[in-house]
């Protein structure tokens, strides 16, 4: 029964005249009138919140979105087979985190060693010799395989202590990974690893699903273009590569896509109670998945405030209650995480605390200059932090074209140039589309501002982390496009708009070519990885 229906009945009963004296009856009638009027005002002010029927909701899901999800999941499953065990950035550390969570039932530490079982597997598959050496393939003889099987058959201990670089991350992804880890506990470590990789592949499916829905909400008038955005992202090799491995970036991409979708839904339909809960829950899951989600938080908060102000104009104070609900749900895990960390003597927000510390130590202006150049050409007056390097092209673009394994597997150099031509054409079509829909853009400027703040927040966080890495350890910083996976919904929207930029007549054909381009990129990326590790 709907809330509106249920609230009508008592109001109707209340208007029935009672059989008592005239004066007292008048007083009561007036009191009841006032009460009914107050109820009606309250009802008018309340934000419409349609009753949620799971079956209806499932029926309303577009089949194309489900197919995009299926394709992304299958693609990531292919990547999980192609990429050799532990030849993805930090996979040994992420596996160790899950193993120790499952075996010891407590969070691992940064120091200390992996379990003897993991150590033996890393040794037997020559993980260290292969990593960062593109000229060295994986094990290639029957003897090496036999040795691996003999060592695994002896059931070495699964108890370890440390999880290296993964130890600073929140535990939600690893808790989920403990399920396939447990399911595969009767087999070997390699069986468990493959099952865990398949859970990550499921995350790729969720990502593509929400990207499709995000594009649908942001470009409601061009239904054919939704598929271009959703399908291209589903076939993106970087998503497949990272989601074919044990790495929380896969889940971060999924939960970020869900957050983008919920916000877009809010901008289109208004902030309802259910949507406030959804945004809060998605944010809470994001915070508990990977600390990088903190970069999206300013944009999410801004979006919630904008949605609440709009709802407040139409429906009054109840909108603020929804805002408070969303914020409370979103922030609660951060509070818990802070408490657990502070209680165990660690920095409150893990490695993000170091970034905030850096700001307190007066890095601000130096850091802003560094972060700018981390992505864009240097401006006059800035110190040159990247001499001899065009970060936009040589880091972010070229590395997006293809950098697999432990970032040691790339295409021949000429491929980057060819990719630049394709990207240039897509950018032209996208720009044309923006010009055509400029009136709509103006109307929805605030919405786009929210997405922009989310983007800048994430970029700033990654840049600041890299700056601290350079300042403290003198390294070259962290620069890999996988950190941008949370922005995949925007890529989906850009590609859909680019297809629209070709006009109504040629748009669908151009959209088909964009999808084929991503499919080709995916296939050649897989061949490149196969050639590097097994050739």
């Amino acid at each position: 029964m709907s809330r509106r229906g249920s609230s009508k009945a008592p109001a109707g009963r209340a208007t029935k005249p009672p059989s008592v004296g005239t004066r007292s009856f008048d007083r009561r009638r007036q009191a009841l009138k006032k009460q009914t009027a107050r109820k009606q005002v309250r009802r008018r002010r309340s934000v419409p919140s349609p009753t949620f029927h799971l079956r209806d909701a499932l029926r309303r899901i577009p089949r194309a979105a489900l197919l995009c999800a299926l394709i992304a999941g299958l693609n990531a499953a292919c990547w999980s087979i192609i990429t050799p065990p532990f030849q993805v950035p930090d996979e040994p550390a992420h596996f160790a985190y899950t193993q120790q969570l499952a075996q010891n039932e407590r969070l691992p530490t940064a120091g200390g060693s992996y379990s003897p079982e993991e150590g033996i597997v890393l040794r037997d598959i020559h993980q260290k010799a292969v990593k960062w050496h593109p000229e060295v393939g994986t094990i290639s003889s029957a003897e090496e395989q036999r040795q691996l099987q003999i060592d695994l058959a002896q059931h070495p201990s699964r108890a370890g202590v440390g999880a290296g670089v993964a130890a600073s991350q929140p535990p939600l992804y690893y808790l989920l990974e403990a399920i396939p880890y447990g399911l595969g506990s009767g087999g070997t470590l390699l069986d468990q690893l493959e099952l865990m990789r398949l859970l990550s592949a499921l995350m790729a499916a969720i990502t593509a699903f929400f990207v499709f829905l995000f594009v649908r909400e942001t470009l409601p008038s061009a239904s054919w273009a939704w598929t271009v955005g959703g399908l291209s992202v589903a076939l993106a090799p970087l998503l497949g590569f990272m989601s074919g491995a044990v790495n929380p970036d896969s889940m971060l991409a999924a939960v970020s896509a869900a957050t983008f979708y919920c916000l877009a839904r809010g901008f289109r339909c208004g902030l309802t109670r259910n949507l406030a809960i959804a945004i809060g829950t998605a944010s809470a899951i994001g915070f508990l998945t990977k600390l990088n989600f903190i970069g999206l938080a300013p944009g999410v908060i801004l979006g919630l405030f904008v949605l609440a102000i709009r709802a407040w104009r139409a429906h009054g104070l109840i909108a603020l209650r929804h805002l408070a609900l969303a914020l409370a749900i979103a922030v609660s895990p951060v509070g818990l995480y802070l408490f657990v960390n502070l209680a165990s003597g660690r920095p409150g927000l893990g490695i993000v605390s170091n970034t905030i510390d850096g700001w307190h130590r007066g890095f601000v202006f130096r850091e802003i200059g560094y972060i700018w150049q981390f992505y864009l050409p240097r401006l006059p007056g800035m110190a040159n932090d990247f001499p001899g390097l065009s970060t936009t092209r040589q880091i972010w673009f070229d590395r997006s074209v293809g950098l697999y394994g432990w970032l040691d597997t790339s295409f021949p150099v000429w491929v980057d140039t060819v990719a630049l031509v394709a990207a240039g054409l897509i950018a032209l079509l996208y720009t044309r589309s923006l010009v055509v829909v400029r009136a709509v853009l103006r109307e929805r400027l605030v919405e786009f501002l929210v997405y922009l703040v989310m983007t800048i927040g994430l970029l700033a966080l990654i840049g600041a982390s890299s700056y601290l890495n350079v300042s403290n350890e003198g390294g070259g910083g962290w620069a890999h496009p996988r950190y941008l996976l949370p922005l995949l919904p925007l890529l989906g929207a850009v590609l859909a708009l680019a297809a629209r930029g070709a006009g109504r007549r040629w748009g669908p054909a151009v959209g088909a070519l964009i999808v084929v381009l991503f499919l080709a990129h995916d296939i050649f990326s897989q061949l490149q990885v196969i050639a590097r590790f097994y050739g």
């Binding site: 194309a64 197919l67 394709i71 299958l74 499953a77 292919c78 192609i82 050799p84 065990p85 960062w132 050496h133 593109p134 000229e135 393939g137 094990i139 290639s140 003889s141 090496e144 395989q145 691996l148 087999g187 070997t188 390699l190 054919w224 598929t227 271009v228 399908l231 589903a234 076939l235 001499p387 001899g388 390097l389 065009s390 092209r393 040589q394 880091i395 432990w406 970032l407 040691d408 021949p412 150099v413 350079v470 003198g474 070259g476 910083g477 040629w506 054909a509 959209g511 088909a512 070519l513 999808v515 084929v516 381009l517 499919l519 080709a520 296939i523 050649f524 050639a531 097994y534 050739g535």
Partner: protein, 210 residues
Amino acid sequence: MRSVPVALAGGLALVAVAVGGTLSRPPVIIAGTNSVAAQLAAGHTRGDTRGCQQGGTLPGGTAAIRLSLSANVGPKVALNVRLGSRVVTRGERDAGWGEEETVSVPVARVARTTPGVVVCTTVGPTIESLQINGTPKRPTPSGALGLRDVLLRIEYLRPGHRSWWSLASSVAYHMGLGHAPSGAWIVFLLLVLMFAVAALASQLVVRELR
């Protein structure tokens, strides 16, 4: 609208031809080396430097030269291979490579084998310390040496003689090792999955893009 199936079919046909063409070519193999051992972190440099060393015999057909330099974000690397005053081949690799313990620099294809070449390496400005892996020319504490003080390991790369097609069975066997599930059959599983991905994507494009 027929343009969508036509674009899709044309695009897929082009991809199939490109895949077939790529697999018809041979993989890159090591044609020769200068026989220097690549000791990790034998030296470091902040870039903007140049060093020359004996390169041994440069094999005919060489299309790229691999040097034992490593970085997270590598600087521009230029190579100049000479015999006396004559330049035999040259090439360069833009900045941004990594993360590897080596860097491959594409060079103009060498027509014939040339013994006794000198390889000069020029490294551009770096954003981090570039690690030099090789053999020190003189005994000095590790890490205190620059590009001129360390002999780099040099590998000459050229296309092999057999195509990827002819290596397919050995690649499939190799792919079945060190995995779970193991066995060459996983290659067939992989093919089925990828064909399913391509078929589903094509079906979706034809149905939705109208």
